[in-house]
Amino acid sequence: MSSVMANNKTTNKAANPTARQKGFAIDLKTWGPFVALVVLALLGVLINPAFLGLDNLSNMLTRSAFIGIIAIGATFVITAGGLDLSVGAMAAFIAGVMIILMNSLVEQFGAGLTTVLFGIGASLLLGLCAGFINGIVTTKGKIEAFIVTLGTMGIYRSLVTYLADGGTLTLDWAVRDIYRPVYYGSFLGITIPVWVFFFVAVIGYILLNYTRFGRYCFAIGSNEKVAEYSAIHVDRIKTMTYMLQGVCVALATIIYVPRLGSASGATGVLWELEAIAAVIIGGTMLKGGHGRIWGTVVGAIMLTMIGNILNLTDAISNYLNGTVQGIIIIVAVYLQRASWRKTGA
């Protein structure tokens, strides 16, 4: 069958070297977030050598784990052309339900591992369900993700406030003692949240770049119609991204609850925006079709790093954290767009 179509092989061979050359300019774009992270770290060292201290670095990474884990889920949602604004409220809601559940199980199972495992299981299940709801309403109801998740955000936020009766839900002290190591413990000198963050990132990377699911996310985010005509179950894949996001929120909540041992209407406020910011700084495009896990990891660390550096210096008030973050988000995206244009992609 090849005789007719393959009558011009010479032109193809000539083309390959030029194709390679072009890849170089794109690489700068790929490494942009990493370069920015290094620059920011150097700035940190210059401001205060204590920045490089092991304790400080460890503390910073541990704090970035919550947003980072959520942001990895968000990378999938955004790459597939969606958006999830409900993650912060979802985290608060899951935390609230977890605490109530574990407190009530103390009578039955005592303040032991079983109780904690039940809590963790419930958290994952809730995350999965919440994500499923976001996904199914967006895809089957054909309502924009922004609106659906704005709605569920309000629902979860008010539910947690209701559960806490306007106050704070506190985890049973005995349970908290057992649960504590999940946030405060460490393995091989690295804290558990950082390990979780790391594994979620590795799994996320493989999922996004080396599975059909990941490739389909790119295709759907670029052009849903094309995806549909490529025999992809678009609604199913999109719903799965929201479910993955839900699981990531659950994981983040699981390591968050032992930190303070409480949840209230103020838990996880603005996490959704920080997660989206981390994703965008990392080079994922908000309109979909283009996503990067390591970029997201770097983005999440950068956001925490800014706060950390401001803590270590008196030059800028800590209250200006949001201002600096905001400027960095805008600059990061501007730089990415500029290089985008130059390479003509």
Binding site: V4, A6, N7, A19, N223, V226, A231
Partner: protein, 503 residues
């Protein structure tokens, strides 16, 4: 000379696409610009209309040199271009689009009434019944095309550049367009007309210029130049046997696909057909007759209210394109940019997207994917002359081959091909025709939807014709000719005629 280009060169990076090209446009002439995809036609007209600047060479308007930095400067001189890809704001109304960026005002406010009046006049001149208040999104592609043209004629146009204007128009709309071109020509407007359809050009062009690989190969009056000669000039070699011979179809060739009593809300009222092994079944009819809707419903992409599919005589349920793929049925969409290719994705991923599971075990094996891609490049003769990284950067013909490679990746037994040669140069067309021939020689079956009569007649064993959602008839042998197809396509002959006439 109204508008002239002198020794125009243009490069994109290291890639030179135009070499010392000259072009002269006189007032009141229709000048056809011909060339294969990637010959540099679009680049040349973009330079004339101010969208691109030449690397060297000059553009002259009535003998004085012009340096257009943007398209609005060219438009101010009356040089207006109608785009191949329609450039309309979908959510705005027709009149808002027509006056976009040059709104008429009365004081601080928009003069809506004057704009509506002038829009209506322009549309009336085009003999189209498009409502100036309609939202562009709700219009058919051909009506959108009319809006583009109306937009151009409301300006004080002296040079009108049309890039493939008839690609999406129905036969009747083409007639109206040609009448309009004739009127514009009488008014002294110079028209630069890009098309792949040599028959059209023979009909309307006064003069013709042919480009090949960025070089000017011929320019002169249309009179005395034959279609065949122009085709040869474009391709640079003789095209003999445009259509390959029909594959011999044994009398006992089994039916591989059958569709019974299909009903698609709002599109198909009544349609059944069969497809045999090794057969090309053509689908004729005007745009909007329901051919695409019927076949997309058969494939499970579109919802149907009734209809049964039999594959090799067994009833099958196709609810999603994935089901069709499982039954080894592939679909080549007519809209390669909107439905066929992920334009901002790399070429390799585009080719493997439909059959990605073949490269997964369970993780994607990038090396095998690359191997499959290189094979596709060879097999389908995809030419990567420019350093194209994404599908968007390929020329139309190469995009079509890339899409073909994608569709063929599932090794289908039945291939449904929708308008395979729309906006494609002669050379690539020829390749696609021979490819269809090879498929049937190998015992595959093809359904070919086409608006090009020549294609249907030249390639099909049988031609099913649709009219207003009804499959009016299936023509065979001697019946397959232009006149017969037209009669069935317009409902003069065939099934369901009475209902349409009196119902």
């Amino acid at each position: 000379m109204l508008l002239s280009a002198r020794k125009i060169c243009r490069s994109f990076g290291d890639n030179q696409v135009l070499f010392d090209v000259d072009l002269d446009l006189q007032a009141g002439e229709v000048h056809a610009l011909l060339g294969e995809n990637g010959a540099g036609k679009s680049t040349l007209v973009k330079i004339l209309a101010g969208y691109l600047r030449p690397t060297s060479g000059e553009v002259l308007l009535e003998g004085s040199q012009r340096h257009y930095r943007a398209s609005d400067e060219a438009e101010a001189d009356g040089v207006v271009m109608i785009h191949q890809e329609l450039a309309l704001a979908e959510q705005l109304s027709v009149e808002e689009n027509i006056f976009l960026g040059r709104e008429l005002r009365r004081g601080l406010f928009l003069d809506r009434r004057a704009m509506r009046e002038r829009s209506r006049e322009a549309l009336a001149e085009l003999e189209t019944d498009v409502d100036p208040r309609a939202r562009v999104k709700d219009l058919s592609t051909s009506d959108q095309q009319m809006v583009e043209i109306a937009k151009a004629i409301t300006r004080d146009v002296r040079v009108l550049i049309m890039d493939e204007p008839t690609a999406t128009l129905t036969e009747n709309e083409v007639k109206v367009l040609f009448a309009l071109i004739a009127r514009l020509r009488q008014r002294g407007v110079a028209i630069l007309y890009i098309s792949h359809k040599l028959r059209e050009i023979e009909q309307i062009a006064d003069r013709v210029t042919v480009l090949r690989d960025g070089h000017l190969v011929d320019s002169g009056p249309m009179a005395g130049r034959s279609k065949e000669e122009l085709a040869r000039l474009m391709v640079g070699r003789e095209i003999n046997e445009m259509y390959p011979p029909l594959t011999h179809l044994p009398a006992d060739a089994p039916v591989v696909l059958e569709a019974r009593e299909f009903l698609v809300p709002g599109a198909v009222k009544q349609a059944s057909f069969t497809l045999r092994r090794g057969e090309v079944l053509g689908f004729g009819g005007v745009v909007g007759a329901g051919r695409t809707a019927l076949l997309e419903a058969v494939l499970g992409i579109r919802a149907k209210s009734a209809g049964q599919v039999l594959r090799n005589g067994q009833p099958v349920v196709l609810r999603h394109l994935r089901d069709a793929v499982r039954h080894r049925i592939a679909y080549l969409t007519e809209d390669r940019k909107g439905k066929g290719l992920v334009l901002n994705m790399d070429l390799r991923s585009n080719v493997t997207l439909l059959n990605l599971r073949a490269h997964c075990h369970p993780l994607i094996d990038r090396r095998r994917e690359e191997h499959a891609f290189q094979e596709a490049i060879q097999r389908f003769d995809i030419r990567l002359r420019t350093a194209a990284r994404t599908a968007a950067e390929l020329s139309g013909g190469n995009q079509q081959k890339l899409l073909l490679a994608k569709v063929m990746s599932i090794d289908p037994e039945i291939v449904i091909i929708n308008e395979p040669t729309r906006g494609i140069d002669v050379g690539t067309k020829h390749q696609i025709y021979h490819f269809i021939h090879e498929l049937t020689e190998a015992g595959r079956s093809v359904i070919l939807i086409s608006s090009e009569m020549g294609e249907l007649i030249g390639l099909s064993h049988r031609v099913a014709v649709m009219c207003a959602g009804v499959l009016t008839g299936v023509l065979e042998g001697e019946q397959i000719n232009e006149q017969e197809i037209m009669q069935y396509a317009s409902g003069i002959k065939g099934v369901g005629v009475d209902e349409q006439r009196y119902g």
